[in-house]
Symmetry: C2
Subunit: 332 residues, 2 copies
């Protein structure tokens, strides 16, 4: 045994396109064409090159590739001051966005969350999270002619949102089909467009069924599991009459269920609960409205690419989907 501590060997030079070319007995140009799936390579040659690639365990150098392609590649993410970003939703959004940008060969430059929110580094494009319509960042980006996409609603800009309104409608229609009439809406103070839309969808479903909404069924769950718990518990203790809860987030739904069970009610036997988001680790047992966060980020990246290539401005609404699981049942 040596006294010296273990240390890994410092360098192991990666194979380059040259090595692959030599191994396959072709030129670098041909290898490059194979790598990029370009037409005009004989099938036989292509196979030989691919074999060499696998044999050498070749991975193209991203920097060199990026340099050759010379396309804009720096994308920034800017988060509005005050938007709740320490949430499961945002974490997933961030992860998927990173993945999408990476897959498209972009460089995800920085998460900016300073109070100003204005880009400090120059980027080729921006994703805006949680911005208002007259956000100073929007003006800044427009002035500097930097393409961007807003996750949220906007006027005359590129944006993408999940269909919150439709989600609210679907959730409540599901409960109505099960015979429920007195449906609590558990949300937060309505300063957020998404939560407002979910509530509007809720109201629309009631309206379509000819049911008048009851104002005291709108509860403030503070967007958190704790808030959901306290709101529902208080409502029960105050004797509020309802047979179902539509929580505008999975977290609030979890809290609602805990409160119901703590007070001896069974879900879904006595009370049905619907959530919103379908978050992994959290809402996996809930009847809920699924937001496809991956798709939202994919659309965001698409829109951004359109902006980068000067295409016309466009926006998109990503559909949501009711997932029926074990927390809803026929009204007793």
């Amino acid at each position: 045994m040596m006294a010296r501590p273990l240390s890994s060997s410092p360098q192991k030079p990666r194979p380059t396109i040259q090595d692959v070319a030599k191994e396959a007995g072709v030129s670098t140009g041909t290898v490059s064409r194979v790598l990029n799936n370009r037409a005009g390579v004989k099938a036989q040659t292509r196979a030989r090159v691919q074999a060499a690639i696998i044999h050498l365990n070749y991975q193209p150098d991203l920097a060199a590739r990026e340099l050759s392609f010379r396309q804009p590649t720096r994308i920034g993410l800017s988060i509005a001051a005050g938007s709740r970003r320490l949430t499961p939703f945002f974490t997933l959004f961030l992860e998927y966005l990173m993945g999408e940008l990476q897959a498209e060969g972009f460089r995800f430059e920085e998460v900016q969350s300073d109070s100003q929110g204005l880009p400090t580094e120059l980027t080729d494009g921006m994703v805006l999270f949680g911005a208002h319509d007259d956000d100073p960042r929007i003006h800044y980006l427009q002035e500097h002619n930097i393409p961007f996409v807003l996750v949220g609603h906007g006027e005359g800009i590129r944006w993408v949102v999940p269909d919150d309104y439709d989600g609210g409608r679907q959730a409540v229609e599901h409960l109505l089909r099960l015979g429920h009439r007195d449906i609590v809406h558990l949300s937060g103070l309505m300063n957020n467009q998404a939560f407002q839309d979910r509530y509007q969808g809720h109201l629309a479903a009631l309206n379509n069924a000819g049911i008048k909404p009851h104002p005291e069924l709108l509860l403030d769950g503070d967007f958190s599991s704790l808030g959901g718990y306290r709101a529902v518990r208080k409502a029960l203790e105050d004797g509020l009459n309802f047979s179902a809860v539509f929580a505008a987030s999975d977290e609030m739904a979890i809290g609602a269920i805990a409160a119901l069970e703590d007070l001896g009610l069974r879900v879904p036997l006595d009370i049905s609960v619907v959530g919103f988001d379908d978050l992994p680790e959290i809402g996996e047992t809930l009847t809920t409205i699924r937001q496809d966060i991956e798709q939202i980020t994919a659309v965001a990246v698409d829109l951004l690419k359109e902006g980068l290539s000067g295409k016309p401005i466009r926006h998109e609404t990503v559909p949501v989907q009711l997932i029926v699981r074990g927390t809803t049942a026929k009204r007793r």
Copy 2:
């Protein structure tokens, strides 16, 4: 008004080092030296170049730079299956880690969270989050000679952790100084090293003060605000006797405070509460133990760089700090 929708101009070529050189009347080599703060440039020349850089709003092309430096640059993050990653802590960790890696010129390759957890793409280095000592990923990385750093404890590998033990000790010593003797420890099922260490620190502080720990003061708060709320509320309703709560996370502390206040107790007049983490948006009013997440990520990146250059294996413990705010007071 044109009917055609607005569209931004597709391209605006960035200035290159050549442009800067011409503008400043020097060669590209000199500009490069200025950019990288190399010695051997006359102060006057340096100033002229810097002026040109600012004037042209020049930003070096990262791809070109990376290609020239030819250093390993792809860093992956791997998250153990089953570790709770949709938490504020993890989100902040991710953001800081991205920032650090970026600042050091690395490329943050991917967030892996598949059940296997093994790297699917080749990376030059890895950050492991929430791995156990005999994690298959560790063996894999060692076999393939890929440098990595674990956020957590390990044997014979590079790792970094915050000083959880010391944090627990500091929190409880603070409460002891205020005269508290019956201190609830609010945590989760102890499957997590960090939470175990915090509890061990708690016990050590008691022990140093000659106080015997009381087993029923250890409460399961499920690592969440809701769990903290329910645990503390139940304890109060069961008549548990205590004058202070040490919650092993800010979220549980928030829950604990809500429960206390719902049952008519005042914080800190009647009961003192200490949290752990000092999370923005969440723990900002708490007396808490501050974890410097930014520093943790910075150390992780340092260790990784050492691994990349073949330096000996080393680990580091990042200190934590008691922040006294408004939720603790002398025992009445």
